[in-house]
């Protein structure tokens, strides 16, 4: 990567520029979009921090859309014989709720933090491939929008988020919804894949001097494990989606049972992706929790190597448990036994993490600020979800629970209680870093408690109605089969629906909190509000475009902490004394600022290339000519991209400058 920053003044000793290798202008009459403010600076940016923020904003928007879908589902089920949604609309609603929450909220919100924090945590100035990073964001956004246009183009997908074939064939799902789903997820899959390659290379190759792998902050570690999971899981779902697309659009026979197709093919392909996906969803949140707990307990993370290795172990074992989603499909006793045992085994590394988190807090000076509340919330709520998960690993018990609300209860406890609470911990923890303002603590605590109470009211009763036999995905329940007394599912469904309102109130408070915290006149956040431990806090808030004035040399895990505190104790008894503040360290860095800091220039091509994808996808559904148009745009963008120099030339600036400092740090 070439990291080039526009120098403020022409350097007189710069080497002369031979007229070879680079063209003098980037695109003929078009200037390169070198603006640093205004809408163009966002649209064409390749800065990982701006892209991280955009990932977050878009993910939050999809969170609200997915939340509204959930509220409609709960409104429908609040009473017997619900009439809010038709059966058909109900099917679309739960399918899109799950798809939106998994692919368009949790994953991109984790990507937001990964993009923003990973380069900062490892002391880098950007990711390895900034333009590919921008492409990934736009592909995700366009893919998500494409998916959601199905609502106004004949109806959304209606086969459930795992879209079992042959149930998703044209005969059973005649609208274009499933086509939109299959194509939209291919587009967001491309985004995930490029992001995975980018972040893996970034973490492996761009660490600050001295930062060995076992000194990498734990969030970055978990992000890297997730990127490996994405790298190998995405192609598998891509194959499944391609087959489904060919089946529906080009009459292939992969899932035509009448032609002898195996109905388990889709299930295997989907869950070989789908189970690693579970860890893709939850591990970034685990990383955030592992960052937050030590900071608010004033202790290092207990057993850092164990937390790293258990994260990696989850990443490996996660590939060997997919068939526990298929216990009811008649796999045969040997497969069921093997996958049953593997599933119990994967609870071990997860349990290791829980123990490490608890021991991190043990004897610590705990401050219950909002990020800490959310992190503790994860430990409690995720453990509940994990325990019901272990009951699924027992195949006979799982056979009873399959397709009931008990499953719905389980995965909401792990996804909402694990991933979403963890992401909220990250939002509160890193907000002052990203925006330079503290989120309001009072509102934050209200936000937390309403969310926790809301989620338990919503998802807790689902255990009961599930064990009573209420099936998943049924659009109505009737009074005469609701049962008696404590186990009356009518009562518990009503509670769950009320809980969903409480939960939305909690989320609403978060949005209000953003508004309140950014009103005119609010104080800027302190540089190091939480007394944090890792490198991302060792720079300005929000960080400068080039992240660090001088790249730090790393000697410790928790480098920032060790620069602030000196150990005056003995070998067995640490006795830390503060020797520097964040302000001191920042001033020291600014005093030693590197002279020639190089950042790559913004580019038109990533957004254009990403825009070609939905055009081609619409082409598959409506008109083959659109595919050609999209392919042409993609080709032009790729050539433009391939021949574009990393840095804008003098002609791109207004007014043009001459005598630029062209010393180049070219790596990759």
């Amino acid at each position: 990567m070439a990291i080039i920053e526009r120098p403020s003044a022409p350097a007189l000793d710069s080497p002369s520029v031979p007229a070879v290798a680079t063209p003098s202008t980037s695109y003929g009459v078009f200037r390169r979009p070198v603006e640093t403010t205004g809408w163009k600076s966002w649209l064409f940016t390749i800065d990982h921090k701006k892209l991280g923020i955009m990932y977050g904003v878009v993910a939050m928007a999809f969170f609200i859309i997915g939340g509204i879908e959930a509220l409609l589902i709960r409104a429908q089920l609040a009473g017997p014989n619900g009439t809010v949604l038709s059966a058909d609309k109900y099917n679309q609603m739960f399918t899109m709720h799950a798809t939106t929450m998994v692919f368009l909220f949790v994953m991109p919100m984790a990507a937001a933090f990964a993009n923003y924090m990973v380069p900062l945590q490892i002391g880098a100035r950007d990711v390895a491939f900034p333009r590919i990073n921008a492409f990934g964001f736009w592909a995700f956004l366009f893919g998500g929008l494409f998916l959601n246009t199905s609502w106004i183009l004949g109806g959304a997908a209606d086969g459930g988020w795992f879209m079992y074939a042959p149930n998703s064939s044209v005969a059973f799902s005649p609208t274009n919804g499933v086509d939109f789903w299959a194509l939209g997820l291919q587009i967001t899959g491309i985004a995930s894949l490029t992001g995975a390659i980018n972040l893996i290379v970034t973490v492996i190759n761009m660490r600050a001097p001295g930062m060995s792998l076992m000194k990498v902050p734990i969030f970055t570690w978990m992000v890297m494990v997730v990127q490996f999971l994405l790298l190998f899981a995405m192609p598998v779902i891509t194959v499944a989606l391609f087959l489904l697309m060919f089946q529906r659009s080009f009459d292939a026979t992969f899932f035509s049972v009448e032609a002898g197709a195996d109905p388990l093919l889709w299930q295997h392909l989907f869950w070989i992706f789908g189970h690693p996906e579970v860890y893709i969803i939850v591990l970034p949140a685990f990383g955030i929790v592992s960052e937050v707990l030590p900071v608010f307990s004033k202790k290092p993370l207990f057993g850092y190597p164990l937390v790293v290795f258990s994260g990696a172990a989850i990443g490996f074992v996660g590939w060997g448990v997919w068939a526990h989603h298929m216990f009811a499909s008649g796999l045969g006793p040997i497969s069921v036994a093997v996958f049953s045992v593997a599933t119990m085994a994967i609870a071990i590394p997860t349990g290791v993490k829980i123990v490490n988190w608890t021991l991190t807090m043990w004897n610590g000076k705990i401050r219950f600020a909002t990020p800490m509340l959310y992190a503790v919330g994860v430990i409690v709520q995720f453990t509940i979800g994990g325990l019901s998960g272990v009951t699924h690993s027992v195949a006979p018990s799982d056979t009873q629970q399959t397709d009931t609300y008990y499953i719905v209860a389980h995965f909401h406890y792990v996804i909402f209680g694990g991933a979403v609470l963890g992401l909220f911990a990250g939002l509160y923890y890193w907000w002052p870093k990203m925006f330079g303002k503290m989120l309001n603590e009072r509102l934050g605590k209200w936000n937390f408690w309403l969310t926790i109470i809301g989620m338990n009211l919503t998802f807790g009763p689902m255990h009961i109605v599930g064990l009573q036999g209420q099936p998943r995905r049924m659009y109505v329940w009737t009074e005469n089969r609701a049962g008696e007394g404590f186990f009356n599912i009518g009562f518990w469904n009503l509670i769950a629906s009320i809980g969903s309102l409480v939960l939305s109130l909690g989320v609403l408070l978060f949005l209000i909190n953003i508004y309140v915290s950014h009103r005119k006149g609010t104080q800027p956040a302190p540089l190091d509000p939480w007394d944090a431990r890792s490198l991302e806090w060792m720079t300005a808030s929000p960080p400068k475009e080039h992240n660090f004035d001088a790249i730090p040399t790393v000697g410790h895990l928790d480098e920032f902490f060790h620069r602030k505190y000196e150990d005056r104790g003995t070998e067995d008894h640490h006795d830390y004394h503060q020797v520097a503040t964040a302000e001191d360290l920042l001033a020291e860095q600014e005093a030693n600022a590197e002279k020639h800091i190089h950042l790559p220039s913004p580019s038109y091509w990533p957004i254009l290339l990403a825009f070609a994808l939905p055009i081609m996808a619409y082409g598959v559904i409506y008109n083959i000519l659109l595919i050609a148009a999209g392919a042409l745009l993609a080709l032009v963008s790729l050539y433009g991209w391939g021949m574009e120099p990393h840095t804008a030339t003098d002609d791109d600036y207004d007014p043009p400058t001459t005598g630029t400092d062209l010393e180049v740090a070219s790596h990759g």
Binding site: P130, M206, A252, G260, L269, L638, Y639
Partner: protein, 208 residues
């Protein structure tokens, strides 16, 4: 495609890989990214090959693998593709010697051999289709055409990239190190060949 290094207008043009000196591992970012991408591709072809292996026996009486394959013909086109790996190696060696002329020659020969292979595939598909084996005929045909079609698309994309690379070398517009860029294209090309060895063995050579 890898985000390649900036064309450095700096004087010290020593054909070395500038990137390697600045990374934590010493490997260049581009090369690492290419290996990651190829790792991901393994799973893509893994899924497609599994689908084919599951469905290879599901066809009507007279339109199965044993009836339609023309092993000598496919062996010849496989040989052509494998030879293109040899010419790719020659291109990489030439690029390492900074010999632009021979690099372009060997890249072009590689593209030509690749095109010959794709032409053979088109011919093969046409023949099968004439014999009655359409894309939607059976589970076997759907999965066969999808698997080999995917591979064919990979070869075609490779040919386009090779020809673009020849053009960029001619106009001296390769961003970053020429030798490394050629080597990265080579990695992709060899991968596509290796996948074909797998497909040829599993699809064509093992009797149904």
């Amino acid at each position: 495609m890898a985000d390649t290094a900036v064309a450095t207008p700096v004087a010290h043009d020593d054909h070395s890989d500038h990137g390697a000196h600045h990374t934590s591992t010493g490997l260049s970012n581009n090369k690492l990214a290419m290996w990651m991408f190829l790792g991901s591709e393994c799973l893509l072809f893994g899924g497609l090959i599994s689908t084919y292996m599951l469905y290879r026996g599901r066809h009507s009486e007279n339109l199965g693998p044993d009836q339609v394959w023309d092993i000598p013909f496919t062996s010849a086109s496989s040989f052509v593709l494998l030879m293109s790996s040899l010419t790719m190696v020659l291109a990489v060696t030439s690029a390492n010697r900074a010999d632009d002329r021979n690099t372009k020659v060997w890249l072009s020969v590689t593209a030509l051999l690749g095109a010959l292979f794709v032409a053979g595939q088109v011919y093969e598909f046409t023949t099968f289709y004439r014999e009655g084996l359409g894309f939607t005929t059976s589970l076997f045909s759907s999965s066969f055409y999808t698997l080999t079609g995917f591979h064919g698309v990979h070869v075609t994309v490779g040919i386009i990239m090779l020809m673009s690379l020849v053009g960029m070398i001619s106009k001296n517009r390769v961003p970053g190190s020429k030798a490394e860029t050629v080597e990265l294209f080579g990695l992709y090309w060899h991968f596509v060949d290796v996948v074909w060895i797998l497909i040829f063995t599993l699809v064509y050579l093992i009797p149904a």
